[in-house]
Amino acid sequence: MAGDTQNDWSISGEFVEACNCSAPCQCLWNEAPDDDECTAALFWHIDEGVYEGTDLSDLTVGVLLYDQGLLFEGGWDLVVLVDEGASDAQATALEAIFMGRAGGVMGAVAELVEEVKDTAVVPITYDRENGHLSVAAGEIVAIEADAIDGFEATPGEVSPHPLTVPSMTANTGKSTTATVSFDDEFAWDVSGNNSYFGEFEYGA
């Protein structure tokens, strides 16, 4: 029993989120979302990752989020989507990390979660090419998003962004497609709204 290595984990890769706010989403300024309601789908594509010796590379995890009022005041309802390609050990590891049980930044964020409504295993595809993002989770989620330019036709960036690597910036984007259909609570079409994407790096 090597006690101090038991909870070692680190993952890094790319994230994308698509929500109901006009681009860009105001939660980064600690303001209420459009219509005081936040509906968002977030995906993390892990390029490199390990959890207690279990390799997590090339897996993707999705989270469907519903919240009212200020996002960072908490009260979130979540559905966690785990890549069908994950083995049992990998799926267990991903759930432990993304539900905050394994600590790290996700452990802090878990304070904001009111309830994890469900966890589902679905096929997830993730593609990013030339500023275009394409994510699909079975029949549940479809996201197509593009980077949007800011002033003087320069790619828009935001920093700090809570999901991205410290000291790095996230790209501002706009979805062309952003639909979710899981159950009554997690069903929306917020196409044409905010999308952020960038790189992440978490660990305990």
Partner: protein, 269 residues
């Protein structure tokens, strides 16, 4: 009402958070230590009639007693910092506790200890400032002769800083502990120390003017200590904290200007 709602919500959600209780307990112990005057203080070399709560008194005592005096003063100052600063920092300590969720008990204790200890240590170091100031200007003497002008001037400094952009920026950081954590988080005990140092810097940036007031009213003046603690805690924790910061600045400005006018008149003595 807002305050009560906030408190109730916090209690509901966390189901008796251990870290919060421990933090409040530590702060309480620090208060008791200060109220009961359990800390030893060298008492030689200072004129009779000077009480510990008088402006400049503890600093004068410390400086008159060499290294041991300075050491004891810094210890007292650090205890005071724990008493004043820990209550307002509970939200961040609790969030940080979430980040060590998966760790073993030993590692959790080490990291939380490093995080909370570094915070107290950095704030404790700021005790060098009142000592340095007293070395140049004996506050006890000045307060004795021109007390009204001294307090008025200090309140004006508070006013200017409370209304400044720098204060607003630091307060924003202090008010969104999650944003701070996600941005600055690094794993391990060293990560905890680094995170804590960074947070302390913003915290000092946020509170130095209000804390500076202690130097003028007497660094062991419990009444002012309590009042300033309440203001600093509310500034950070409640939703109207930023407006409170502005209001505090305005009140300090008006009172400070009033005191300066009064103190400037020859009949005020």
């Amino acid at each position: 009402m807002h305050v009560l709602d906030g408190v109730r919500e916090r209690i509901d959600r966390g189901s008796v958070p251990l870290v919060a209780l421990a933090t409040y307990a530590l702060a309480l112990v620090a208060w008791v230590v200060l109220v009961e005057r359990w800390l030893p203080m060298p008492a030689t070399g200072v004129e009779a009639g000077l009480r510990m709560s008088d402006p400049g008194a503890p600093e004068a005592l410390a400086l008159a007693n060499g290294p041991s005096g300075v050491g004891l003063y810094l210890l007292m100052w650090a205890v005071m910092m724990v008493a004043m600063m820990y209550p307002a920092t509970v939200p961040l300590f609790r969030l940080y506790n979430g980040t060590v969720r998966g760790a073993t008990t030993a590692e959790r204790t080490a990291r939380l200890g490093a995080f909370m200890g570094t915070y107290a240590f950095v704030w404790g170091l700021t005790g060098i400032v009142p000592l340095a100031v007293n070395r140049v200007v004996p506050v006890a003497t000045v307060a004795d002769e021109r007390g009204t002008v001294l307090l008025g001037g200090a309140l004006l400094v508070v006013a200017v800083y409370q209304l400044s952009a720098a204060k607003r920026r630091c307060l924003e950081y202090c008010r969104s502990p999650l944003g701070f954590l996600t941005e600055q988080y690094r794993p391990g005990v060293r990560g905890a120390v680094r995170l804590s140092v960074r947070f302390s810097v913003f915290c000092i940036g946020c509170c130095w003017a209000l804390m500076g007031l202690m130097l003028v009213v007497g660094s062991m003046n419990l009444l002012w200590m309590a009042g300033i603690t309440v203001v600093m805690s509310l500034e950070r924790v409640v939703s109207w904290g930023d407006r409170l910061a502005t209001a505090t600045g305005l009140v300090a400005g008006v009172v400070g200007a009033g005191l300066l006018v009064m103190g400037g008149l020859p009949l005020a003595g």
